[in-house]
């Protein structure tokens, strides 16, 4: 087994699905599940290996720095595991949720997204990174418009517009880098970029910040995010929040730690993270639509992750990873439950959710659970990651971000709890008898159990987080293994 499976198999599945669609609709639904199950299995088996010692896979026989490599280190192991597992849960949820035709296109694009995301995480080549980025993006644009309604198309177009900008700048940055160092291998670039004139490096940095910042939802580059999150089908929202953004942030941080590891850059990230978080949380406060609210909350959480990365110490990076993990889990749970809540209430509005807690006790329970977890209350997993972020920030001697993070947590609590209140306490009688399908409930149940488990026993994840953080921060080892 090799890390190539992560890219090849979903890609293959993506092309297989339309064919399978000719045979049977059920097959279309089952194939992604099987693929993701297999990938999860692979990721879990490879996990200890990658964590212990990075695996570098050479594609097509060219040796680095000339050929394309896959770098499966601790952090890649962690992220692929996260992506595949979340992907599997999302598939489980989609199984009954996506009932609109064309199902095969949905699953095809979904597989493309998985391919792209794992590719971003795994690749050791900057242009390859760009390509995977584009795969992810195009799949994401299409998925956003999947429902074929007016707003979906609008959101997708905005996403596309901004996303094209991102890819443009990214490509420009690659061009400039290539012009200067004549290599595309990340490890090689990391070695050679030191000789490049400072001005050029800075320009490249800015272009990367913009290009990847758009995908990692940094303010003011995140105009697309609320629309895309809220108009895409709910599982796709979970994919965005749980997979795509994580991959984007990872690549941003990888590039920054490899090429531009300076305090000023990190401080800039810190400040941008804070601004992103605050503005997103404040905007979420008065949203009328539940999914839009979740989108803003997602942006806010990514702000938090960026803050933690911006501190740039090992504990903080570890905390950021932990937060990414928790956010992927919890936000997926929230999107899942919100999806069914919206479906049952027949309206995207928060005000339409009154009393759903009585009609749909289990789904509503999951939403409430997720709300409590994402605010960062113990004993849920969100508590630990937030705590670690705060501790690491304070360890770095900064107090202002701590205060601001906590203020935004309070705002977060306010808008989430408002929704929870509405669910349970605004109307007493039950009206609707439609049931949430079992597969959806199982998906949410899995997430819930994991959240609680991690909440009570954070070492479960934290133990794997330490090598991942070290991997991300340790440029030398990356260069060493990346170039043999």
């Amino acid at each position: 087994m090799s890390p190539v499976h992560f890219i090849a198999i979903p890609l293959f599945a993506a092309f297989l699905i339309p064919l399978a669609g000719k045979v049977s609709k059920e097959l279309v639904k089952i194939i992604p599940g099987l693929v993701l199950l297999y990938l999860s299995f692979v990721s879990v088996t490879l996990f200890p290996i990658g964590t212990h010692h990075p695996v570098v896979e050479i594609i097509a026989g060219f040796k680095p720095p000339f050929g394309i490599t896959l770098y499966y280190g601790a952090i890649a192991a962690f992220l692929t595991t996260l992506i595949t597992l979340i992907g599997f849960v999302i598939w489980l949820y989609s199984y009954k949720f996506i009932i609109r035709e064309p199902i095969e296109k949905y699953y095809m694009l979904f597989m493309m997204l998985i391919t792209g995301s794992t590719g971003i995480v795994l690749t050791g080549d900057i242009f390859n990174l760009f390509v995977f980025f584009e795969i992810t993006s195009i799949a994401a644009y299409s998925l956003t418009a999947f429902l074929r309604d007016r707003d979906g198309a609008e959101a997708a177009f905005k996403y596309l517009l901004i996303g094209s900008f991102a890819s443009t700048f990214f490509l420009l940055a690659i061009a400039i880098i290539y012009a200067n160092v004549h290599t595309l291998n990340l490890a090689d670039i990391a070695v050679k970029i030191q000789d490049v004139p400072v001005t050029t490096r800075l320009f490249v940095l800015i272009l990367f910040l913009i290009g990847l910042g758009i995908e990692s939802e940094m303010f003011p580059l995140n105009g697309w995010a609320p629309d895309a999150y809220s108009q895409a089908p709910s599982p796709v929202g979970a994919v965005f929040g749980g997979i795509v953004v994580k991959a984007a942030v990872y690549s941003l941080m990888r590039i920054i730690f490899l090429m531009f590891n300076s305090h000023d850059v990190l401080h800039f990230l810190l400040v941008m993270g804070i601004i992103t978080m605050l503005i997103a949380e404040m905007s979420a406060m008065k949203q009328q639509q539940i999914k839009r609210m979740l989108a803003f909350s997602s942006i806010g959480q990514m702000g938090l992750v960026i803050i933690a990365f911006g501190i740039g110490t090992e504990p903080s990076v570890r905390a950021a990873m932990f937060q990414m993990f928790n956010h992927a889990l919890i936000k997926s749970l929230l999107f899942f439950s919100a999806g069914y809540l919206v479906f049952h209430s027949g309206s995207k509005k928060i005000s339409a959710l009154d009393g759903l807690g009585h009609d749909k006790p289990i789904t509503s329970f999951f939403f409430a659970f997720g709300a409590l977890a994402i605010i960062g209350l113990p004993p849920f997993s969100g508590f630990w990651s937030k705590l670690y972020i705060l501790l690491s920030i304070a360890d770095a001697g900064l107090m202002v971000p701590v205060v601001l993070i906590l203020i935004s947590s309070i705002i977060e609590a306010v808008y989430y709890l408002r929704v929870v209140s509405r669910l349970y306490f605004y109307k007493e009688e039950a009206t609707d008898v439609r049931r949430t399908p079992v597969s959806g409930l199982i998906a949410m149940g899995i997430l819930t159990v994991v959240i609680l488990l991690v909440g009570f026993y954070p070492n479960l994840i934290l133990n794997w987080m330490t090598p991942a953080a070290a991997d991300l921060l340790n440029k030398a080892s990356y260069i060493k293994f990346g170039l043999f």
């Binding site: 320009f203 113990p378 205060v403």
Partner: protein
């Protein structure tokens, strides 16, 4: 395994089991809840004799649970009140919905409180603090739609408190690199003085929210009054004490090193005094019994804070004595008001009246409660007030003692209004169907009543554990006997004599008045009163309850105009408006977003020097 582990395990697991059982076998639910609370009580008593410590690692931290004399004091309070509350809830909540939810959160609250007092490190302290916070929030919003904004307010304030705790914890971690209590206490002096003060103030703010110190109290009246009565008893009786627990720890274990700290203490003491006075004034003008009690709670917590902040042995003893006592009497009062609510369906003091003959035992409970609150001898409240005043005078807080005294005198007003409106006064036809509450609700009330009586006669019995707790806090040398209290000037009061004299005189006079002309003494209804010869109709309202203290209100009107609550509301609304304004950044026009991107790019390039330190 030892007792503490059992306590936490049983309570938390019991909470989950209760919730599940509620959905499977409804009748078992109450039994399980009561069993859980009872076994918690059993193990707390077990743990009193042990001195144990559990250490295990979670994440990167050592989690340490252990008991100290100080925590034992609070644990007993929690255990007893928790048990009695659940006992009381059995019948009170019988007809309500969502009982699984109720019992689960109630047990979570109890478990969270156990956790707080047994935590020997700040991580688990904060962990349990938050557990307690959200489970109590869920109980506050339990009742109805009206409770939602109130619950939200409670949660926001709790979150502010919890997060200032968290900031302090984070600062401590940054300064000492460790979060174990024993370790922190050793190294706290090494932190710079400014940081010490900041940490202490943050901790005090955090704990102060739960104990409702003045500028942070606004959540309390509404939350207390809207939450279901059994929980309110626990809320006011035990949960608010967690703040006190923390404040005690901060004042005596943490920040005793810095010289500036005395100023913090003085400010805290005065805040407590103002809290006591203003809360009392607000309580006087309430028309809802639970709201009145809520303000009363705030006021009483003010006394406790004064006692702690003044910090002489006697004042700490008074504060801790009040902690125990307030737990008991406020639970009694809330239970008694709850009993009224249980039978009449309202706690509006303007409409309920004259229940004394229908609910005599509830009345007795409330009578004992208000005598204790008012601090009139011979019940326990007097011993506490006595110690508080003496210690304040002897530690030269002359004006504070006046404020406190004014507050506790003004307390007579609302206490009288409470008992008068609900139990005394005209017996209206509207409430003629009312009966005494079931036995299971009476038992907790009567147990607590007996306790306040004993605490009044033999304060030494309660002061024994308190003196142990104070030794843990580093305060020695306060003198007491089983029923004799001494102040620092050597004056004393003998509660035994007091109760003997009062009892004897009361007995003689009572017998005299009873047996003098016994046959010709008859009972007449409350309709048969002097009305200048007019004959009141059967349903005519003769109760004087609306605007009961109008003259007093007129006298102190200027003091009541400023309302902190309104200030907070204004701040909240304006902030929300401002947030609302911010989201107009997202115009919805894709081109604008693209413009943002380009502008951001240009800005970065233009100010590259400023941002990255390199000129582009």
């Amino acid at each position: 395994m030892n007792s503490i582990a059992y306590i936490l395990l049983i309570t938390f697991a019991g909470a989950g089991i209760t919730f599940i059982v509620h959905h499977l076998i409804k009748p078992l639910r109450d039994i399980i809840a009561i069993t859980v609370a009872a076994s918690g009580l059993y193990f707390v008593i077990q743990s009193l004799t042990e001195k144990t410590k559990i250490v295990f690692g979670i994440a990167d931290f050592n989690i340490i649970w252990g008991n100290t004399p100080y925590s034992n004091l609070f644990a007993v309070l929690i255990a007893v009140l928790g048990f009695l509350t659940i006992l009381y809830a059995r019948d009170f909540m019988a007809e309500k919905e969502r009982l699984g939810y109720f019992y689960m959160n109630l047990l979570f609250v109890i478990g969270g409180m156990y956790g707080i007092v047994y935590s020997q490190d700040l991580i688990s302290l904060f962990f349990f603090w938050e557990v307690m916070t959200w489970s109590s929030f869920l109980l506050v919003i339990y009742c109805c739609k009206e409770a939602q904004p109130i619950g939200l307010k409670y949660f926001v304030f709790s979150a502010i408190g919890a997060y200032s705790l968290l900031i302090a914890i984070v600062m401590i971690y940054a300064q000492t690199g460790n979060l174990e209590l024993s370790n922190i206490l050793q190294n706290f002096g090494n932190i710079s003085e400014v940081n010490q003060i900041v940490i202490a103030v943050l901790l005090l703010t955090g704990f102060g929210v739960k104990s409702a110190i003045m500028p942070l109290h606004v959540w309390a009246p509404d939350s207390y009054s809207i939450s279901p009565s059994p929980f309110t008893a626990l809320f006011s009786g035990a949960l608010s004490k967690m703040g006190i627990f923390g404040i005690g720890m901060v004042l005596f274990k943490f920040a005793s090193h810095s010289g500036y700290f005395s100023y913090v203490k003085i400010i805290l003491a005065w805040l407590g005094g103002i809290t006591a006075l203003l809360a009392t004034f607000y309580a006087i003008f309430q028309t809802d019994a639970k709201k009145l009690l809520a303000y009363s709670s705030i006021g009483q917590l003010g006394y406790i804070i004064i006692g702690l902040a003044v910090g002489t042995p006697l004042s700490i003893a008074a504060a801790l004595f009040l902690v125990i006592l307030h737990g008991a009497f406020k639970a009694m009062l809330f239970m008694s008001v709850g009993a009224v609510y249980f039978r009449t369906g309202t706690t509006d003091m303007n409409s309920v009246t004259g229940l004394i003959r229908k609910m005599p035992l509830s009345f007795v409970t409330m009578l004992f409660g208000i005598i204790t609150v008012s601090g009139v001898p011979p019940l326990g409240g007097f011993a506490a007030k006595w110690m508080l005043y003496e210690s304040l005078i002897q530690s030269k807080h002359y004006f504070l003692v006046i404020v406190v005294f004014a507050a506790s005198t003004a307390a007579f007003l609302y206490l009288y209004k409470l008992i008068f409106s609900l139990f005394l006064g005209q017996e209206e036809v509207e409430w003629s169907h009312v009966k005494e509450v079931p036995l299971l609700m009476l038992i907790p009330m009567l147990i607590l009543s007996a306790f306040v009586l004993v605490a009044g006669i033999f304060p030494g019995l309660v002061l024994d554990p308190i003196s142990h707790a104070m030794q843990y806090l580093g305060n020695y040398g306060f003198k007491y006997e089983t029923s004799v209290l001494f102040n620092e000037w050597g004056n004393k009061i003998n509660m035994q004599t007091v109760i003997n004299v009062i009892g004897a005189v009361f007995l003689i006079a009572g017998l005299f008045v009873t047996f003098k002309g016994l046959k010709k003494t008859r009972y007449v209804t409350t309709k048969d009163i002097h009305t200048s010869g007019e004959i009141p109709e059967e349903n005519e309202n003769l109760t004087y309850a609306v605007d009961f203290y109008k003259p007093f209100e007129r006298a102190i009107a200027p003091a009541l105009k400023a309302s902190i609550d309104k200030i907070y509301t204004a701040i909240g609304n304006n902030l929300e408006q401002a947030f609302d304004f911010l989201r107009y950044v997202y115009t919805g026009n894709g081109q604008t977003y693209a413009m943002y991107v380009v502008l951001f790019l240009s800005l970065l390039i233009l100010f590259a020097e400023l941002i990255f330190g390199i000129k582009l």
